[in-house]
């Protein structure tokens, strides 16, 4: 079981790395909004010019 004397510190280094990454992500605002970015993948990227003033966009039916 002597291997634990190496593995546990190694594990702690990994935890430290994970925490550092989490702190970085928090500071970067990654956790400020957890809901709305999820919707962005459902977006069809259509050119703004084609969308505006178009009363009956095809996507709202086809994507059903």
């Amino acid at each position: 079981m002597e291997i634990l004397y190496v593995m546990i510190p190694l594990g702690l280094v990994l935890v430290g790395f994970g925490l550092w990454a989490f702190f970085w992500a928090t500071g970067d605002g990654q956790f400020d909004d957890l809901d709305s970015p999820g919707w962005s993948v459902l977006d069809d990227d259509r050119p703004p010019a084609a969308t505006r003033g178009d009363p009956d966009p095809p996507s709202s039916e086809q994507s059903k």
Binding site: M1, L4, Y5, I8, G11, L12, V15, G18, L19, F22, F23, T26, G27, F31, D32, D33, L34, D35, S36, G38, W39, S40, L42, D43, R46, P48, T51, R52, G53, D54, P55, D56, P57, S59, S60, E61, Q62, S63, K64
Partner: protein, 828 residues
């Protein structure tokens, strides 16, 4: 397809007034809508290619009431003013933070984001649904801020530009810091648990002492940041409470953490006794999690500063030496002259010097009828001018206005905080007394038996009972209850309110906007002649369009005139006369409307019943030369669920009482319809607070439900405050619970859940303490082998968690299909 089928409004989901046949053209189909505001919003949203919104959203949208008013944002079209309100960004761009009223879910924020991103000149948009704020960056050379605000209003979200970003920034940093502390506690807890398992089994099956020592020291190493960094807010809170000579929940929590941690460190370093690092880290993590969830809810409810931003406009139109200029509201001084156009909100208190406006003061008085303001009368900051433009001489600004007075009252009520202190006191006293008595007994007994072991034994009792009972019993139950309530659309801003709610004895209601919907609406249209009701509605709306009476707003919300009225004359106290489609029409009292039939003037002085339309219901008639054409029933409708809610509350042992600022007759009528016996009318905010204090002095635990600014002090003073989701921001900041769905339906079940939560907490505490009290002496006397203690300990925790989880069972959200089922058939 017809509205008569009872289909709710396509946009806001509210019932459609009977007889109204209004449709929005959505994706090639006619969908029923309840008012022209909703029609405009729904058509704009789908017209802009954003129809997916209706499929993504999971709560219905806010009722739009009136079509958007583009002129409201005129001030934000002026570059020099925008420059002062906004912040500079690189490359000449500007940025501003906007509070979005009506932002309810992720789909709403998607909608706001998309609608703005479609505008040219918008460089960046970030919408945060958790705080209902959007940050806009745009190029002023390409697009005006006013246009962006108009876009937001068009999609049904009411924007409130925030001049300063300070409080928002503070809240953001607070959230991030709490999240980091939570992460440290979570990671730390996982690690320590990993080391705890071999330690438990090592105890049972034998373990190399060096390895055991090593594991304990590593656990200590991991626990140090958890106890110091993650636990810091608790020590701070406890220190503040002790310095103020009071006991908050933080005090026993801190005692528990510190004792368990110090004892474990001592034992780990000296290599004797037990270590409790797993309990300490779990304790910190669960408590931190509860606090974090609570903080998010509180931030969402917003701050007093936000509320003021929503109420008082940031700009005003000042007249100086005959020239009108837009200035920031903060620059106003006493003696300045303002012009308040129709439809705008006053930026300061003042005296009318010119113009004859009608001002909606409902946010101050609760009275929903507009009050006429001839020259010489006082007008107040935050009230809404519905009539002709007013010239106002400023008499009070900033901290001296009536609105600020209410805010000050609010802050004082908050400072007193009767309920929070009492709730925490009770909880703390309950735990502390029992645990300290137990510890003292153990110490006394051991002192008698073996003085050398008295200290460590006492410590063991404190350590094992404190964290186990506190860390799991209460927070898990509260977390489960909070989650269950959130699924029903009830936001819990202060979790200790759940405890207080379970002990509630009385309910105080506000009337307008709480028991009623708070809006005068055309509830019913009845055709009396050969003209059908929708035609009559159009004509009535065309006539009423020319009026500024509050009734006219009811018509404006329900129909958009396809016809224009001409030669409209106002007969004060009777109604309107004018011609629409070449037909001479009258709308008003029955006698007045009938008057055209004989052709003569009636000379009748009967008051227009619609003058108190807000207070109950009244009829308005439309007539022409052939006689009466139609009758319109106007109501500030009682919420459909109000009566049922009051009855169910009474069944739970909570009598209701109405405290209203409105007229006595109106209050009495609503009280009768809800089955409420006790009611008082014409109360100022301070009177409402007085009534509350009188009840509390008799030992009552009072729940207050309200929605308005004038309810805010009442809500602050109440033991549990509940605000309506569509109510004013100030009411929401004062509330413990917010009914996000703006429905009273779930209120009785909430109280039921609060009581069940309290029962579960008590069961959990009893179980934890009994288990510990039973296990500890047995273990100390050597009757329990360590492996059994380890399994028992884990099982004990599992029982507590499972018991708490019962609260979230069986409360799955009833989901209404938002997108009608029909499209699937038709697109096939």
């Amino acid at each position: 397809m017809s509205a008569a089928g009872g289909a709710p409004c396509f946009h806001c989901g509210e019932p459609i007034p009977r007889g109204l046949d209004l449709h929005a053209r959505i994706a090639g189909r006619d969908e029923p809508v309840c008012c022209h505001g909703c029609k405009a919003v729904a058509e704009f949203i789908t017209g802009a290619g954003l129809g997916d919104y209706y499929r993504y959203r999971d709560t219905s949208s806010t009722r739009a009431d009136e079509p958007p008013r583009p002129d409201r944002w005129a001030a934000y079209d002026r570059p020099e003013l925008v420059e002062r309100l906004t912040r500079p960004e690189p490359n000449g761009a500007r940025s501003i933070t906007v509070l979005l009223e009506g932002l309810r879910c992720a789909a709403c924020s998607w909608l706001a984001d998309k609608a703005l991103s479609l505008q040219s000149g918008v460089l960046d948009v970030s919408v945060n649904p958790a705080t209902a704020r959007a940050r806009l960056v745009w190029d002023p050379a390409k697009v005006r801020l006013g246009d962006l605000l108009r876009v937001l209003e068009h999609v049904g979200l009411r924007p409130h530009p925030l001049a300063g970003e300070h409080s928002e920034q503070v809240a953001l940093l607070e959230r991030r810091s709490a999240l980091k502390r939570l992460a440290v506690a979570g990671f730390g807890n996982m690690q320590v648990m990993m080391f705890a398992v071999p330690l438990y089994f090592g105890d049972a099956q034998g373990m190399d002492p060096a390895m055991r020592e090593y594991m304990r020291l590593v656990s200590m190493l991991v626990s140090i940041p958890v106890a110091l960094y993650s636990g810091w807010p608790f020590y701070q809170g406890a220190w503040h409470a002790l310095r103020a000579r009071s006991i908050s929940m933080d005090v026993p929590v801190s005692i528990g953490i510190v004792l368990a941690f110090v004892a474990s460190v001592w034992n780990a370093l000296t290599g004797q006794g037990e270590v409790y690092f797993d309990s300490v880290t779990m304790f910190v993590f669960f408590l931190g999690l509860g606090r974090y969830v609570e903080m998010i809810a509180r931030h969402r409810a917003g701050s007093v500063a936000d509320a003021l931003a929503r109420l008082a406009p940031a700009t005003a139109r000042r007249v100086k030496a005959g020239i009108a200029e837009d200035v920031q509201a903060v620059e106003l001084a006493v003696g300045d002259e303002l012009v308040v156009p129709s439809g705008e909100v006053l930026a300061a208190d003042g005296l009318v010097i010119e113009g004859e406006g009608r001002v909606d003061e409902s946010m101050l008085t609760g009275e929903s009828a507009a009050v006429p303001k001839p020259p010489g009368t006082r007008v107040h900051q935050g009230t809404h001018n519905l009539g002709a433009p007013l010239r106002v001489r400023v008499t009070a600004v900033a901290g001296d206005t009536v609105l600020s007075g209410i805010v000050a009252l609010l802050e004082r009520a908050q400072a007193e905080r009767p309920r929070l202190a009492r709730a925490a006191d009770r909880a703390a006293a309950w735990f502390l007394s029992r645990i300290l008595v137990g510890a003292a007994l153990v110490f006394a007994v051991w002192w008698y038996v073996d003085p050398a072991r008295a200290f460590s034994a006492t410590l063991a009792v404190l350590v094992v009972t404190c964290p186990c009972a506190l860390s799991l019993a209460t927070p898990t139950a509260l977390a489960a209850a909070t989650a269950a309530l959130a699924r029903r659309g009830i936001l819990v801003a202060h979790t200790d309110a759940i405890e207080t709610l379970s002990k509630a004895t009385h309910v105080l209601w506000d009337k307008t906007g709480t028991l009623t919907r708070g809006l005068v609406r055309v509830e019913d249209v009845r055709s009396l002649g050969e003209v059908d009701s929708s035609r009559a509605m159009t004509w009535a709306a065309a006539l009423e369009q020319m009026s500024e009476h509050p009734i006219a707003r009811a018509f404006a919300a329900s129909a958009r005139p396809h016809a224009m009225a001409s030669e409209v004359t106002v007969h004060a106290g009777q109604g309107l006369e004018g011609s629409v489609d070449g037909r001479l029409l009258r709308i008003g009292t029955r006698r007045f409307a009938k008057g055209l039939r004989t052709g003569g003037s009636t000379g009748d002085r009967e008051p227009l019943p619609a003058a108190d339309a807000d207070s109950g219901e009244s009829w308005v008639y439309l007539g022409d030369a052939t006689g009466l054409l139609a009758a319109f029933r106007l109501t500030d409708p009682l919420r459909a669920e109000a009566r049922d809610c009051v009855t169910r509350l009474a069944a739970l042992g909570l009598p209701s009482e109405i405290v209203s600022g409105d007229e006595a007759s109106a209050v009495a009528r609503i009280a009768a319809r809800c089955g409420i016996g006790l009611h008082s009318a014409r109360l100022a905010p301070a009177d409402k607070l007085g009534r509350l204090k009188a009840l509390q002095a008799d030992g009552a635990v009072v729940v207050a439900v309200g929605d308005g600014i004038n309810d805010a002090p009442l809500l602050r003073g109440a033991d549990v405050a509940i605000a309506m989701g569509r109510g004013s921001a100030l009411a929401q900041t004062s509330a413990d619970l917010i009914l996000v769905r703006d429905s009273l339906e779930d209120l009785p079940r909430t109280i039921d859940l609060a009581r069940r939560t309290q029962r579960v907490i008590r069961q959990n505490l009893t179980w934890s303490i009994l288990y510990n009290l039973a296990a500890l002496p047995l273990a100390a006397l050597g009757y329990v082998p360590p492996w059994l203690a380890a399994i028992g300990m884990s099982l004990s925790s599992v029982v507590v968690v499972l018991n708490a989880m019962r609260l979230s069972r069986g409360s799955a959200q009833k989901r209404r299909p938002e997108w009608p089922v029909r499209p699937q058939v038709e697109t096939a």
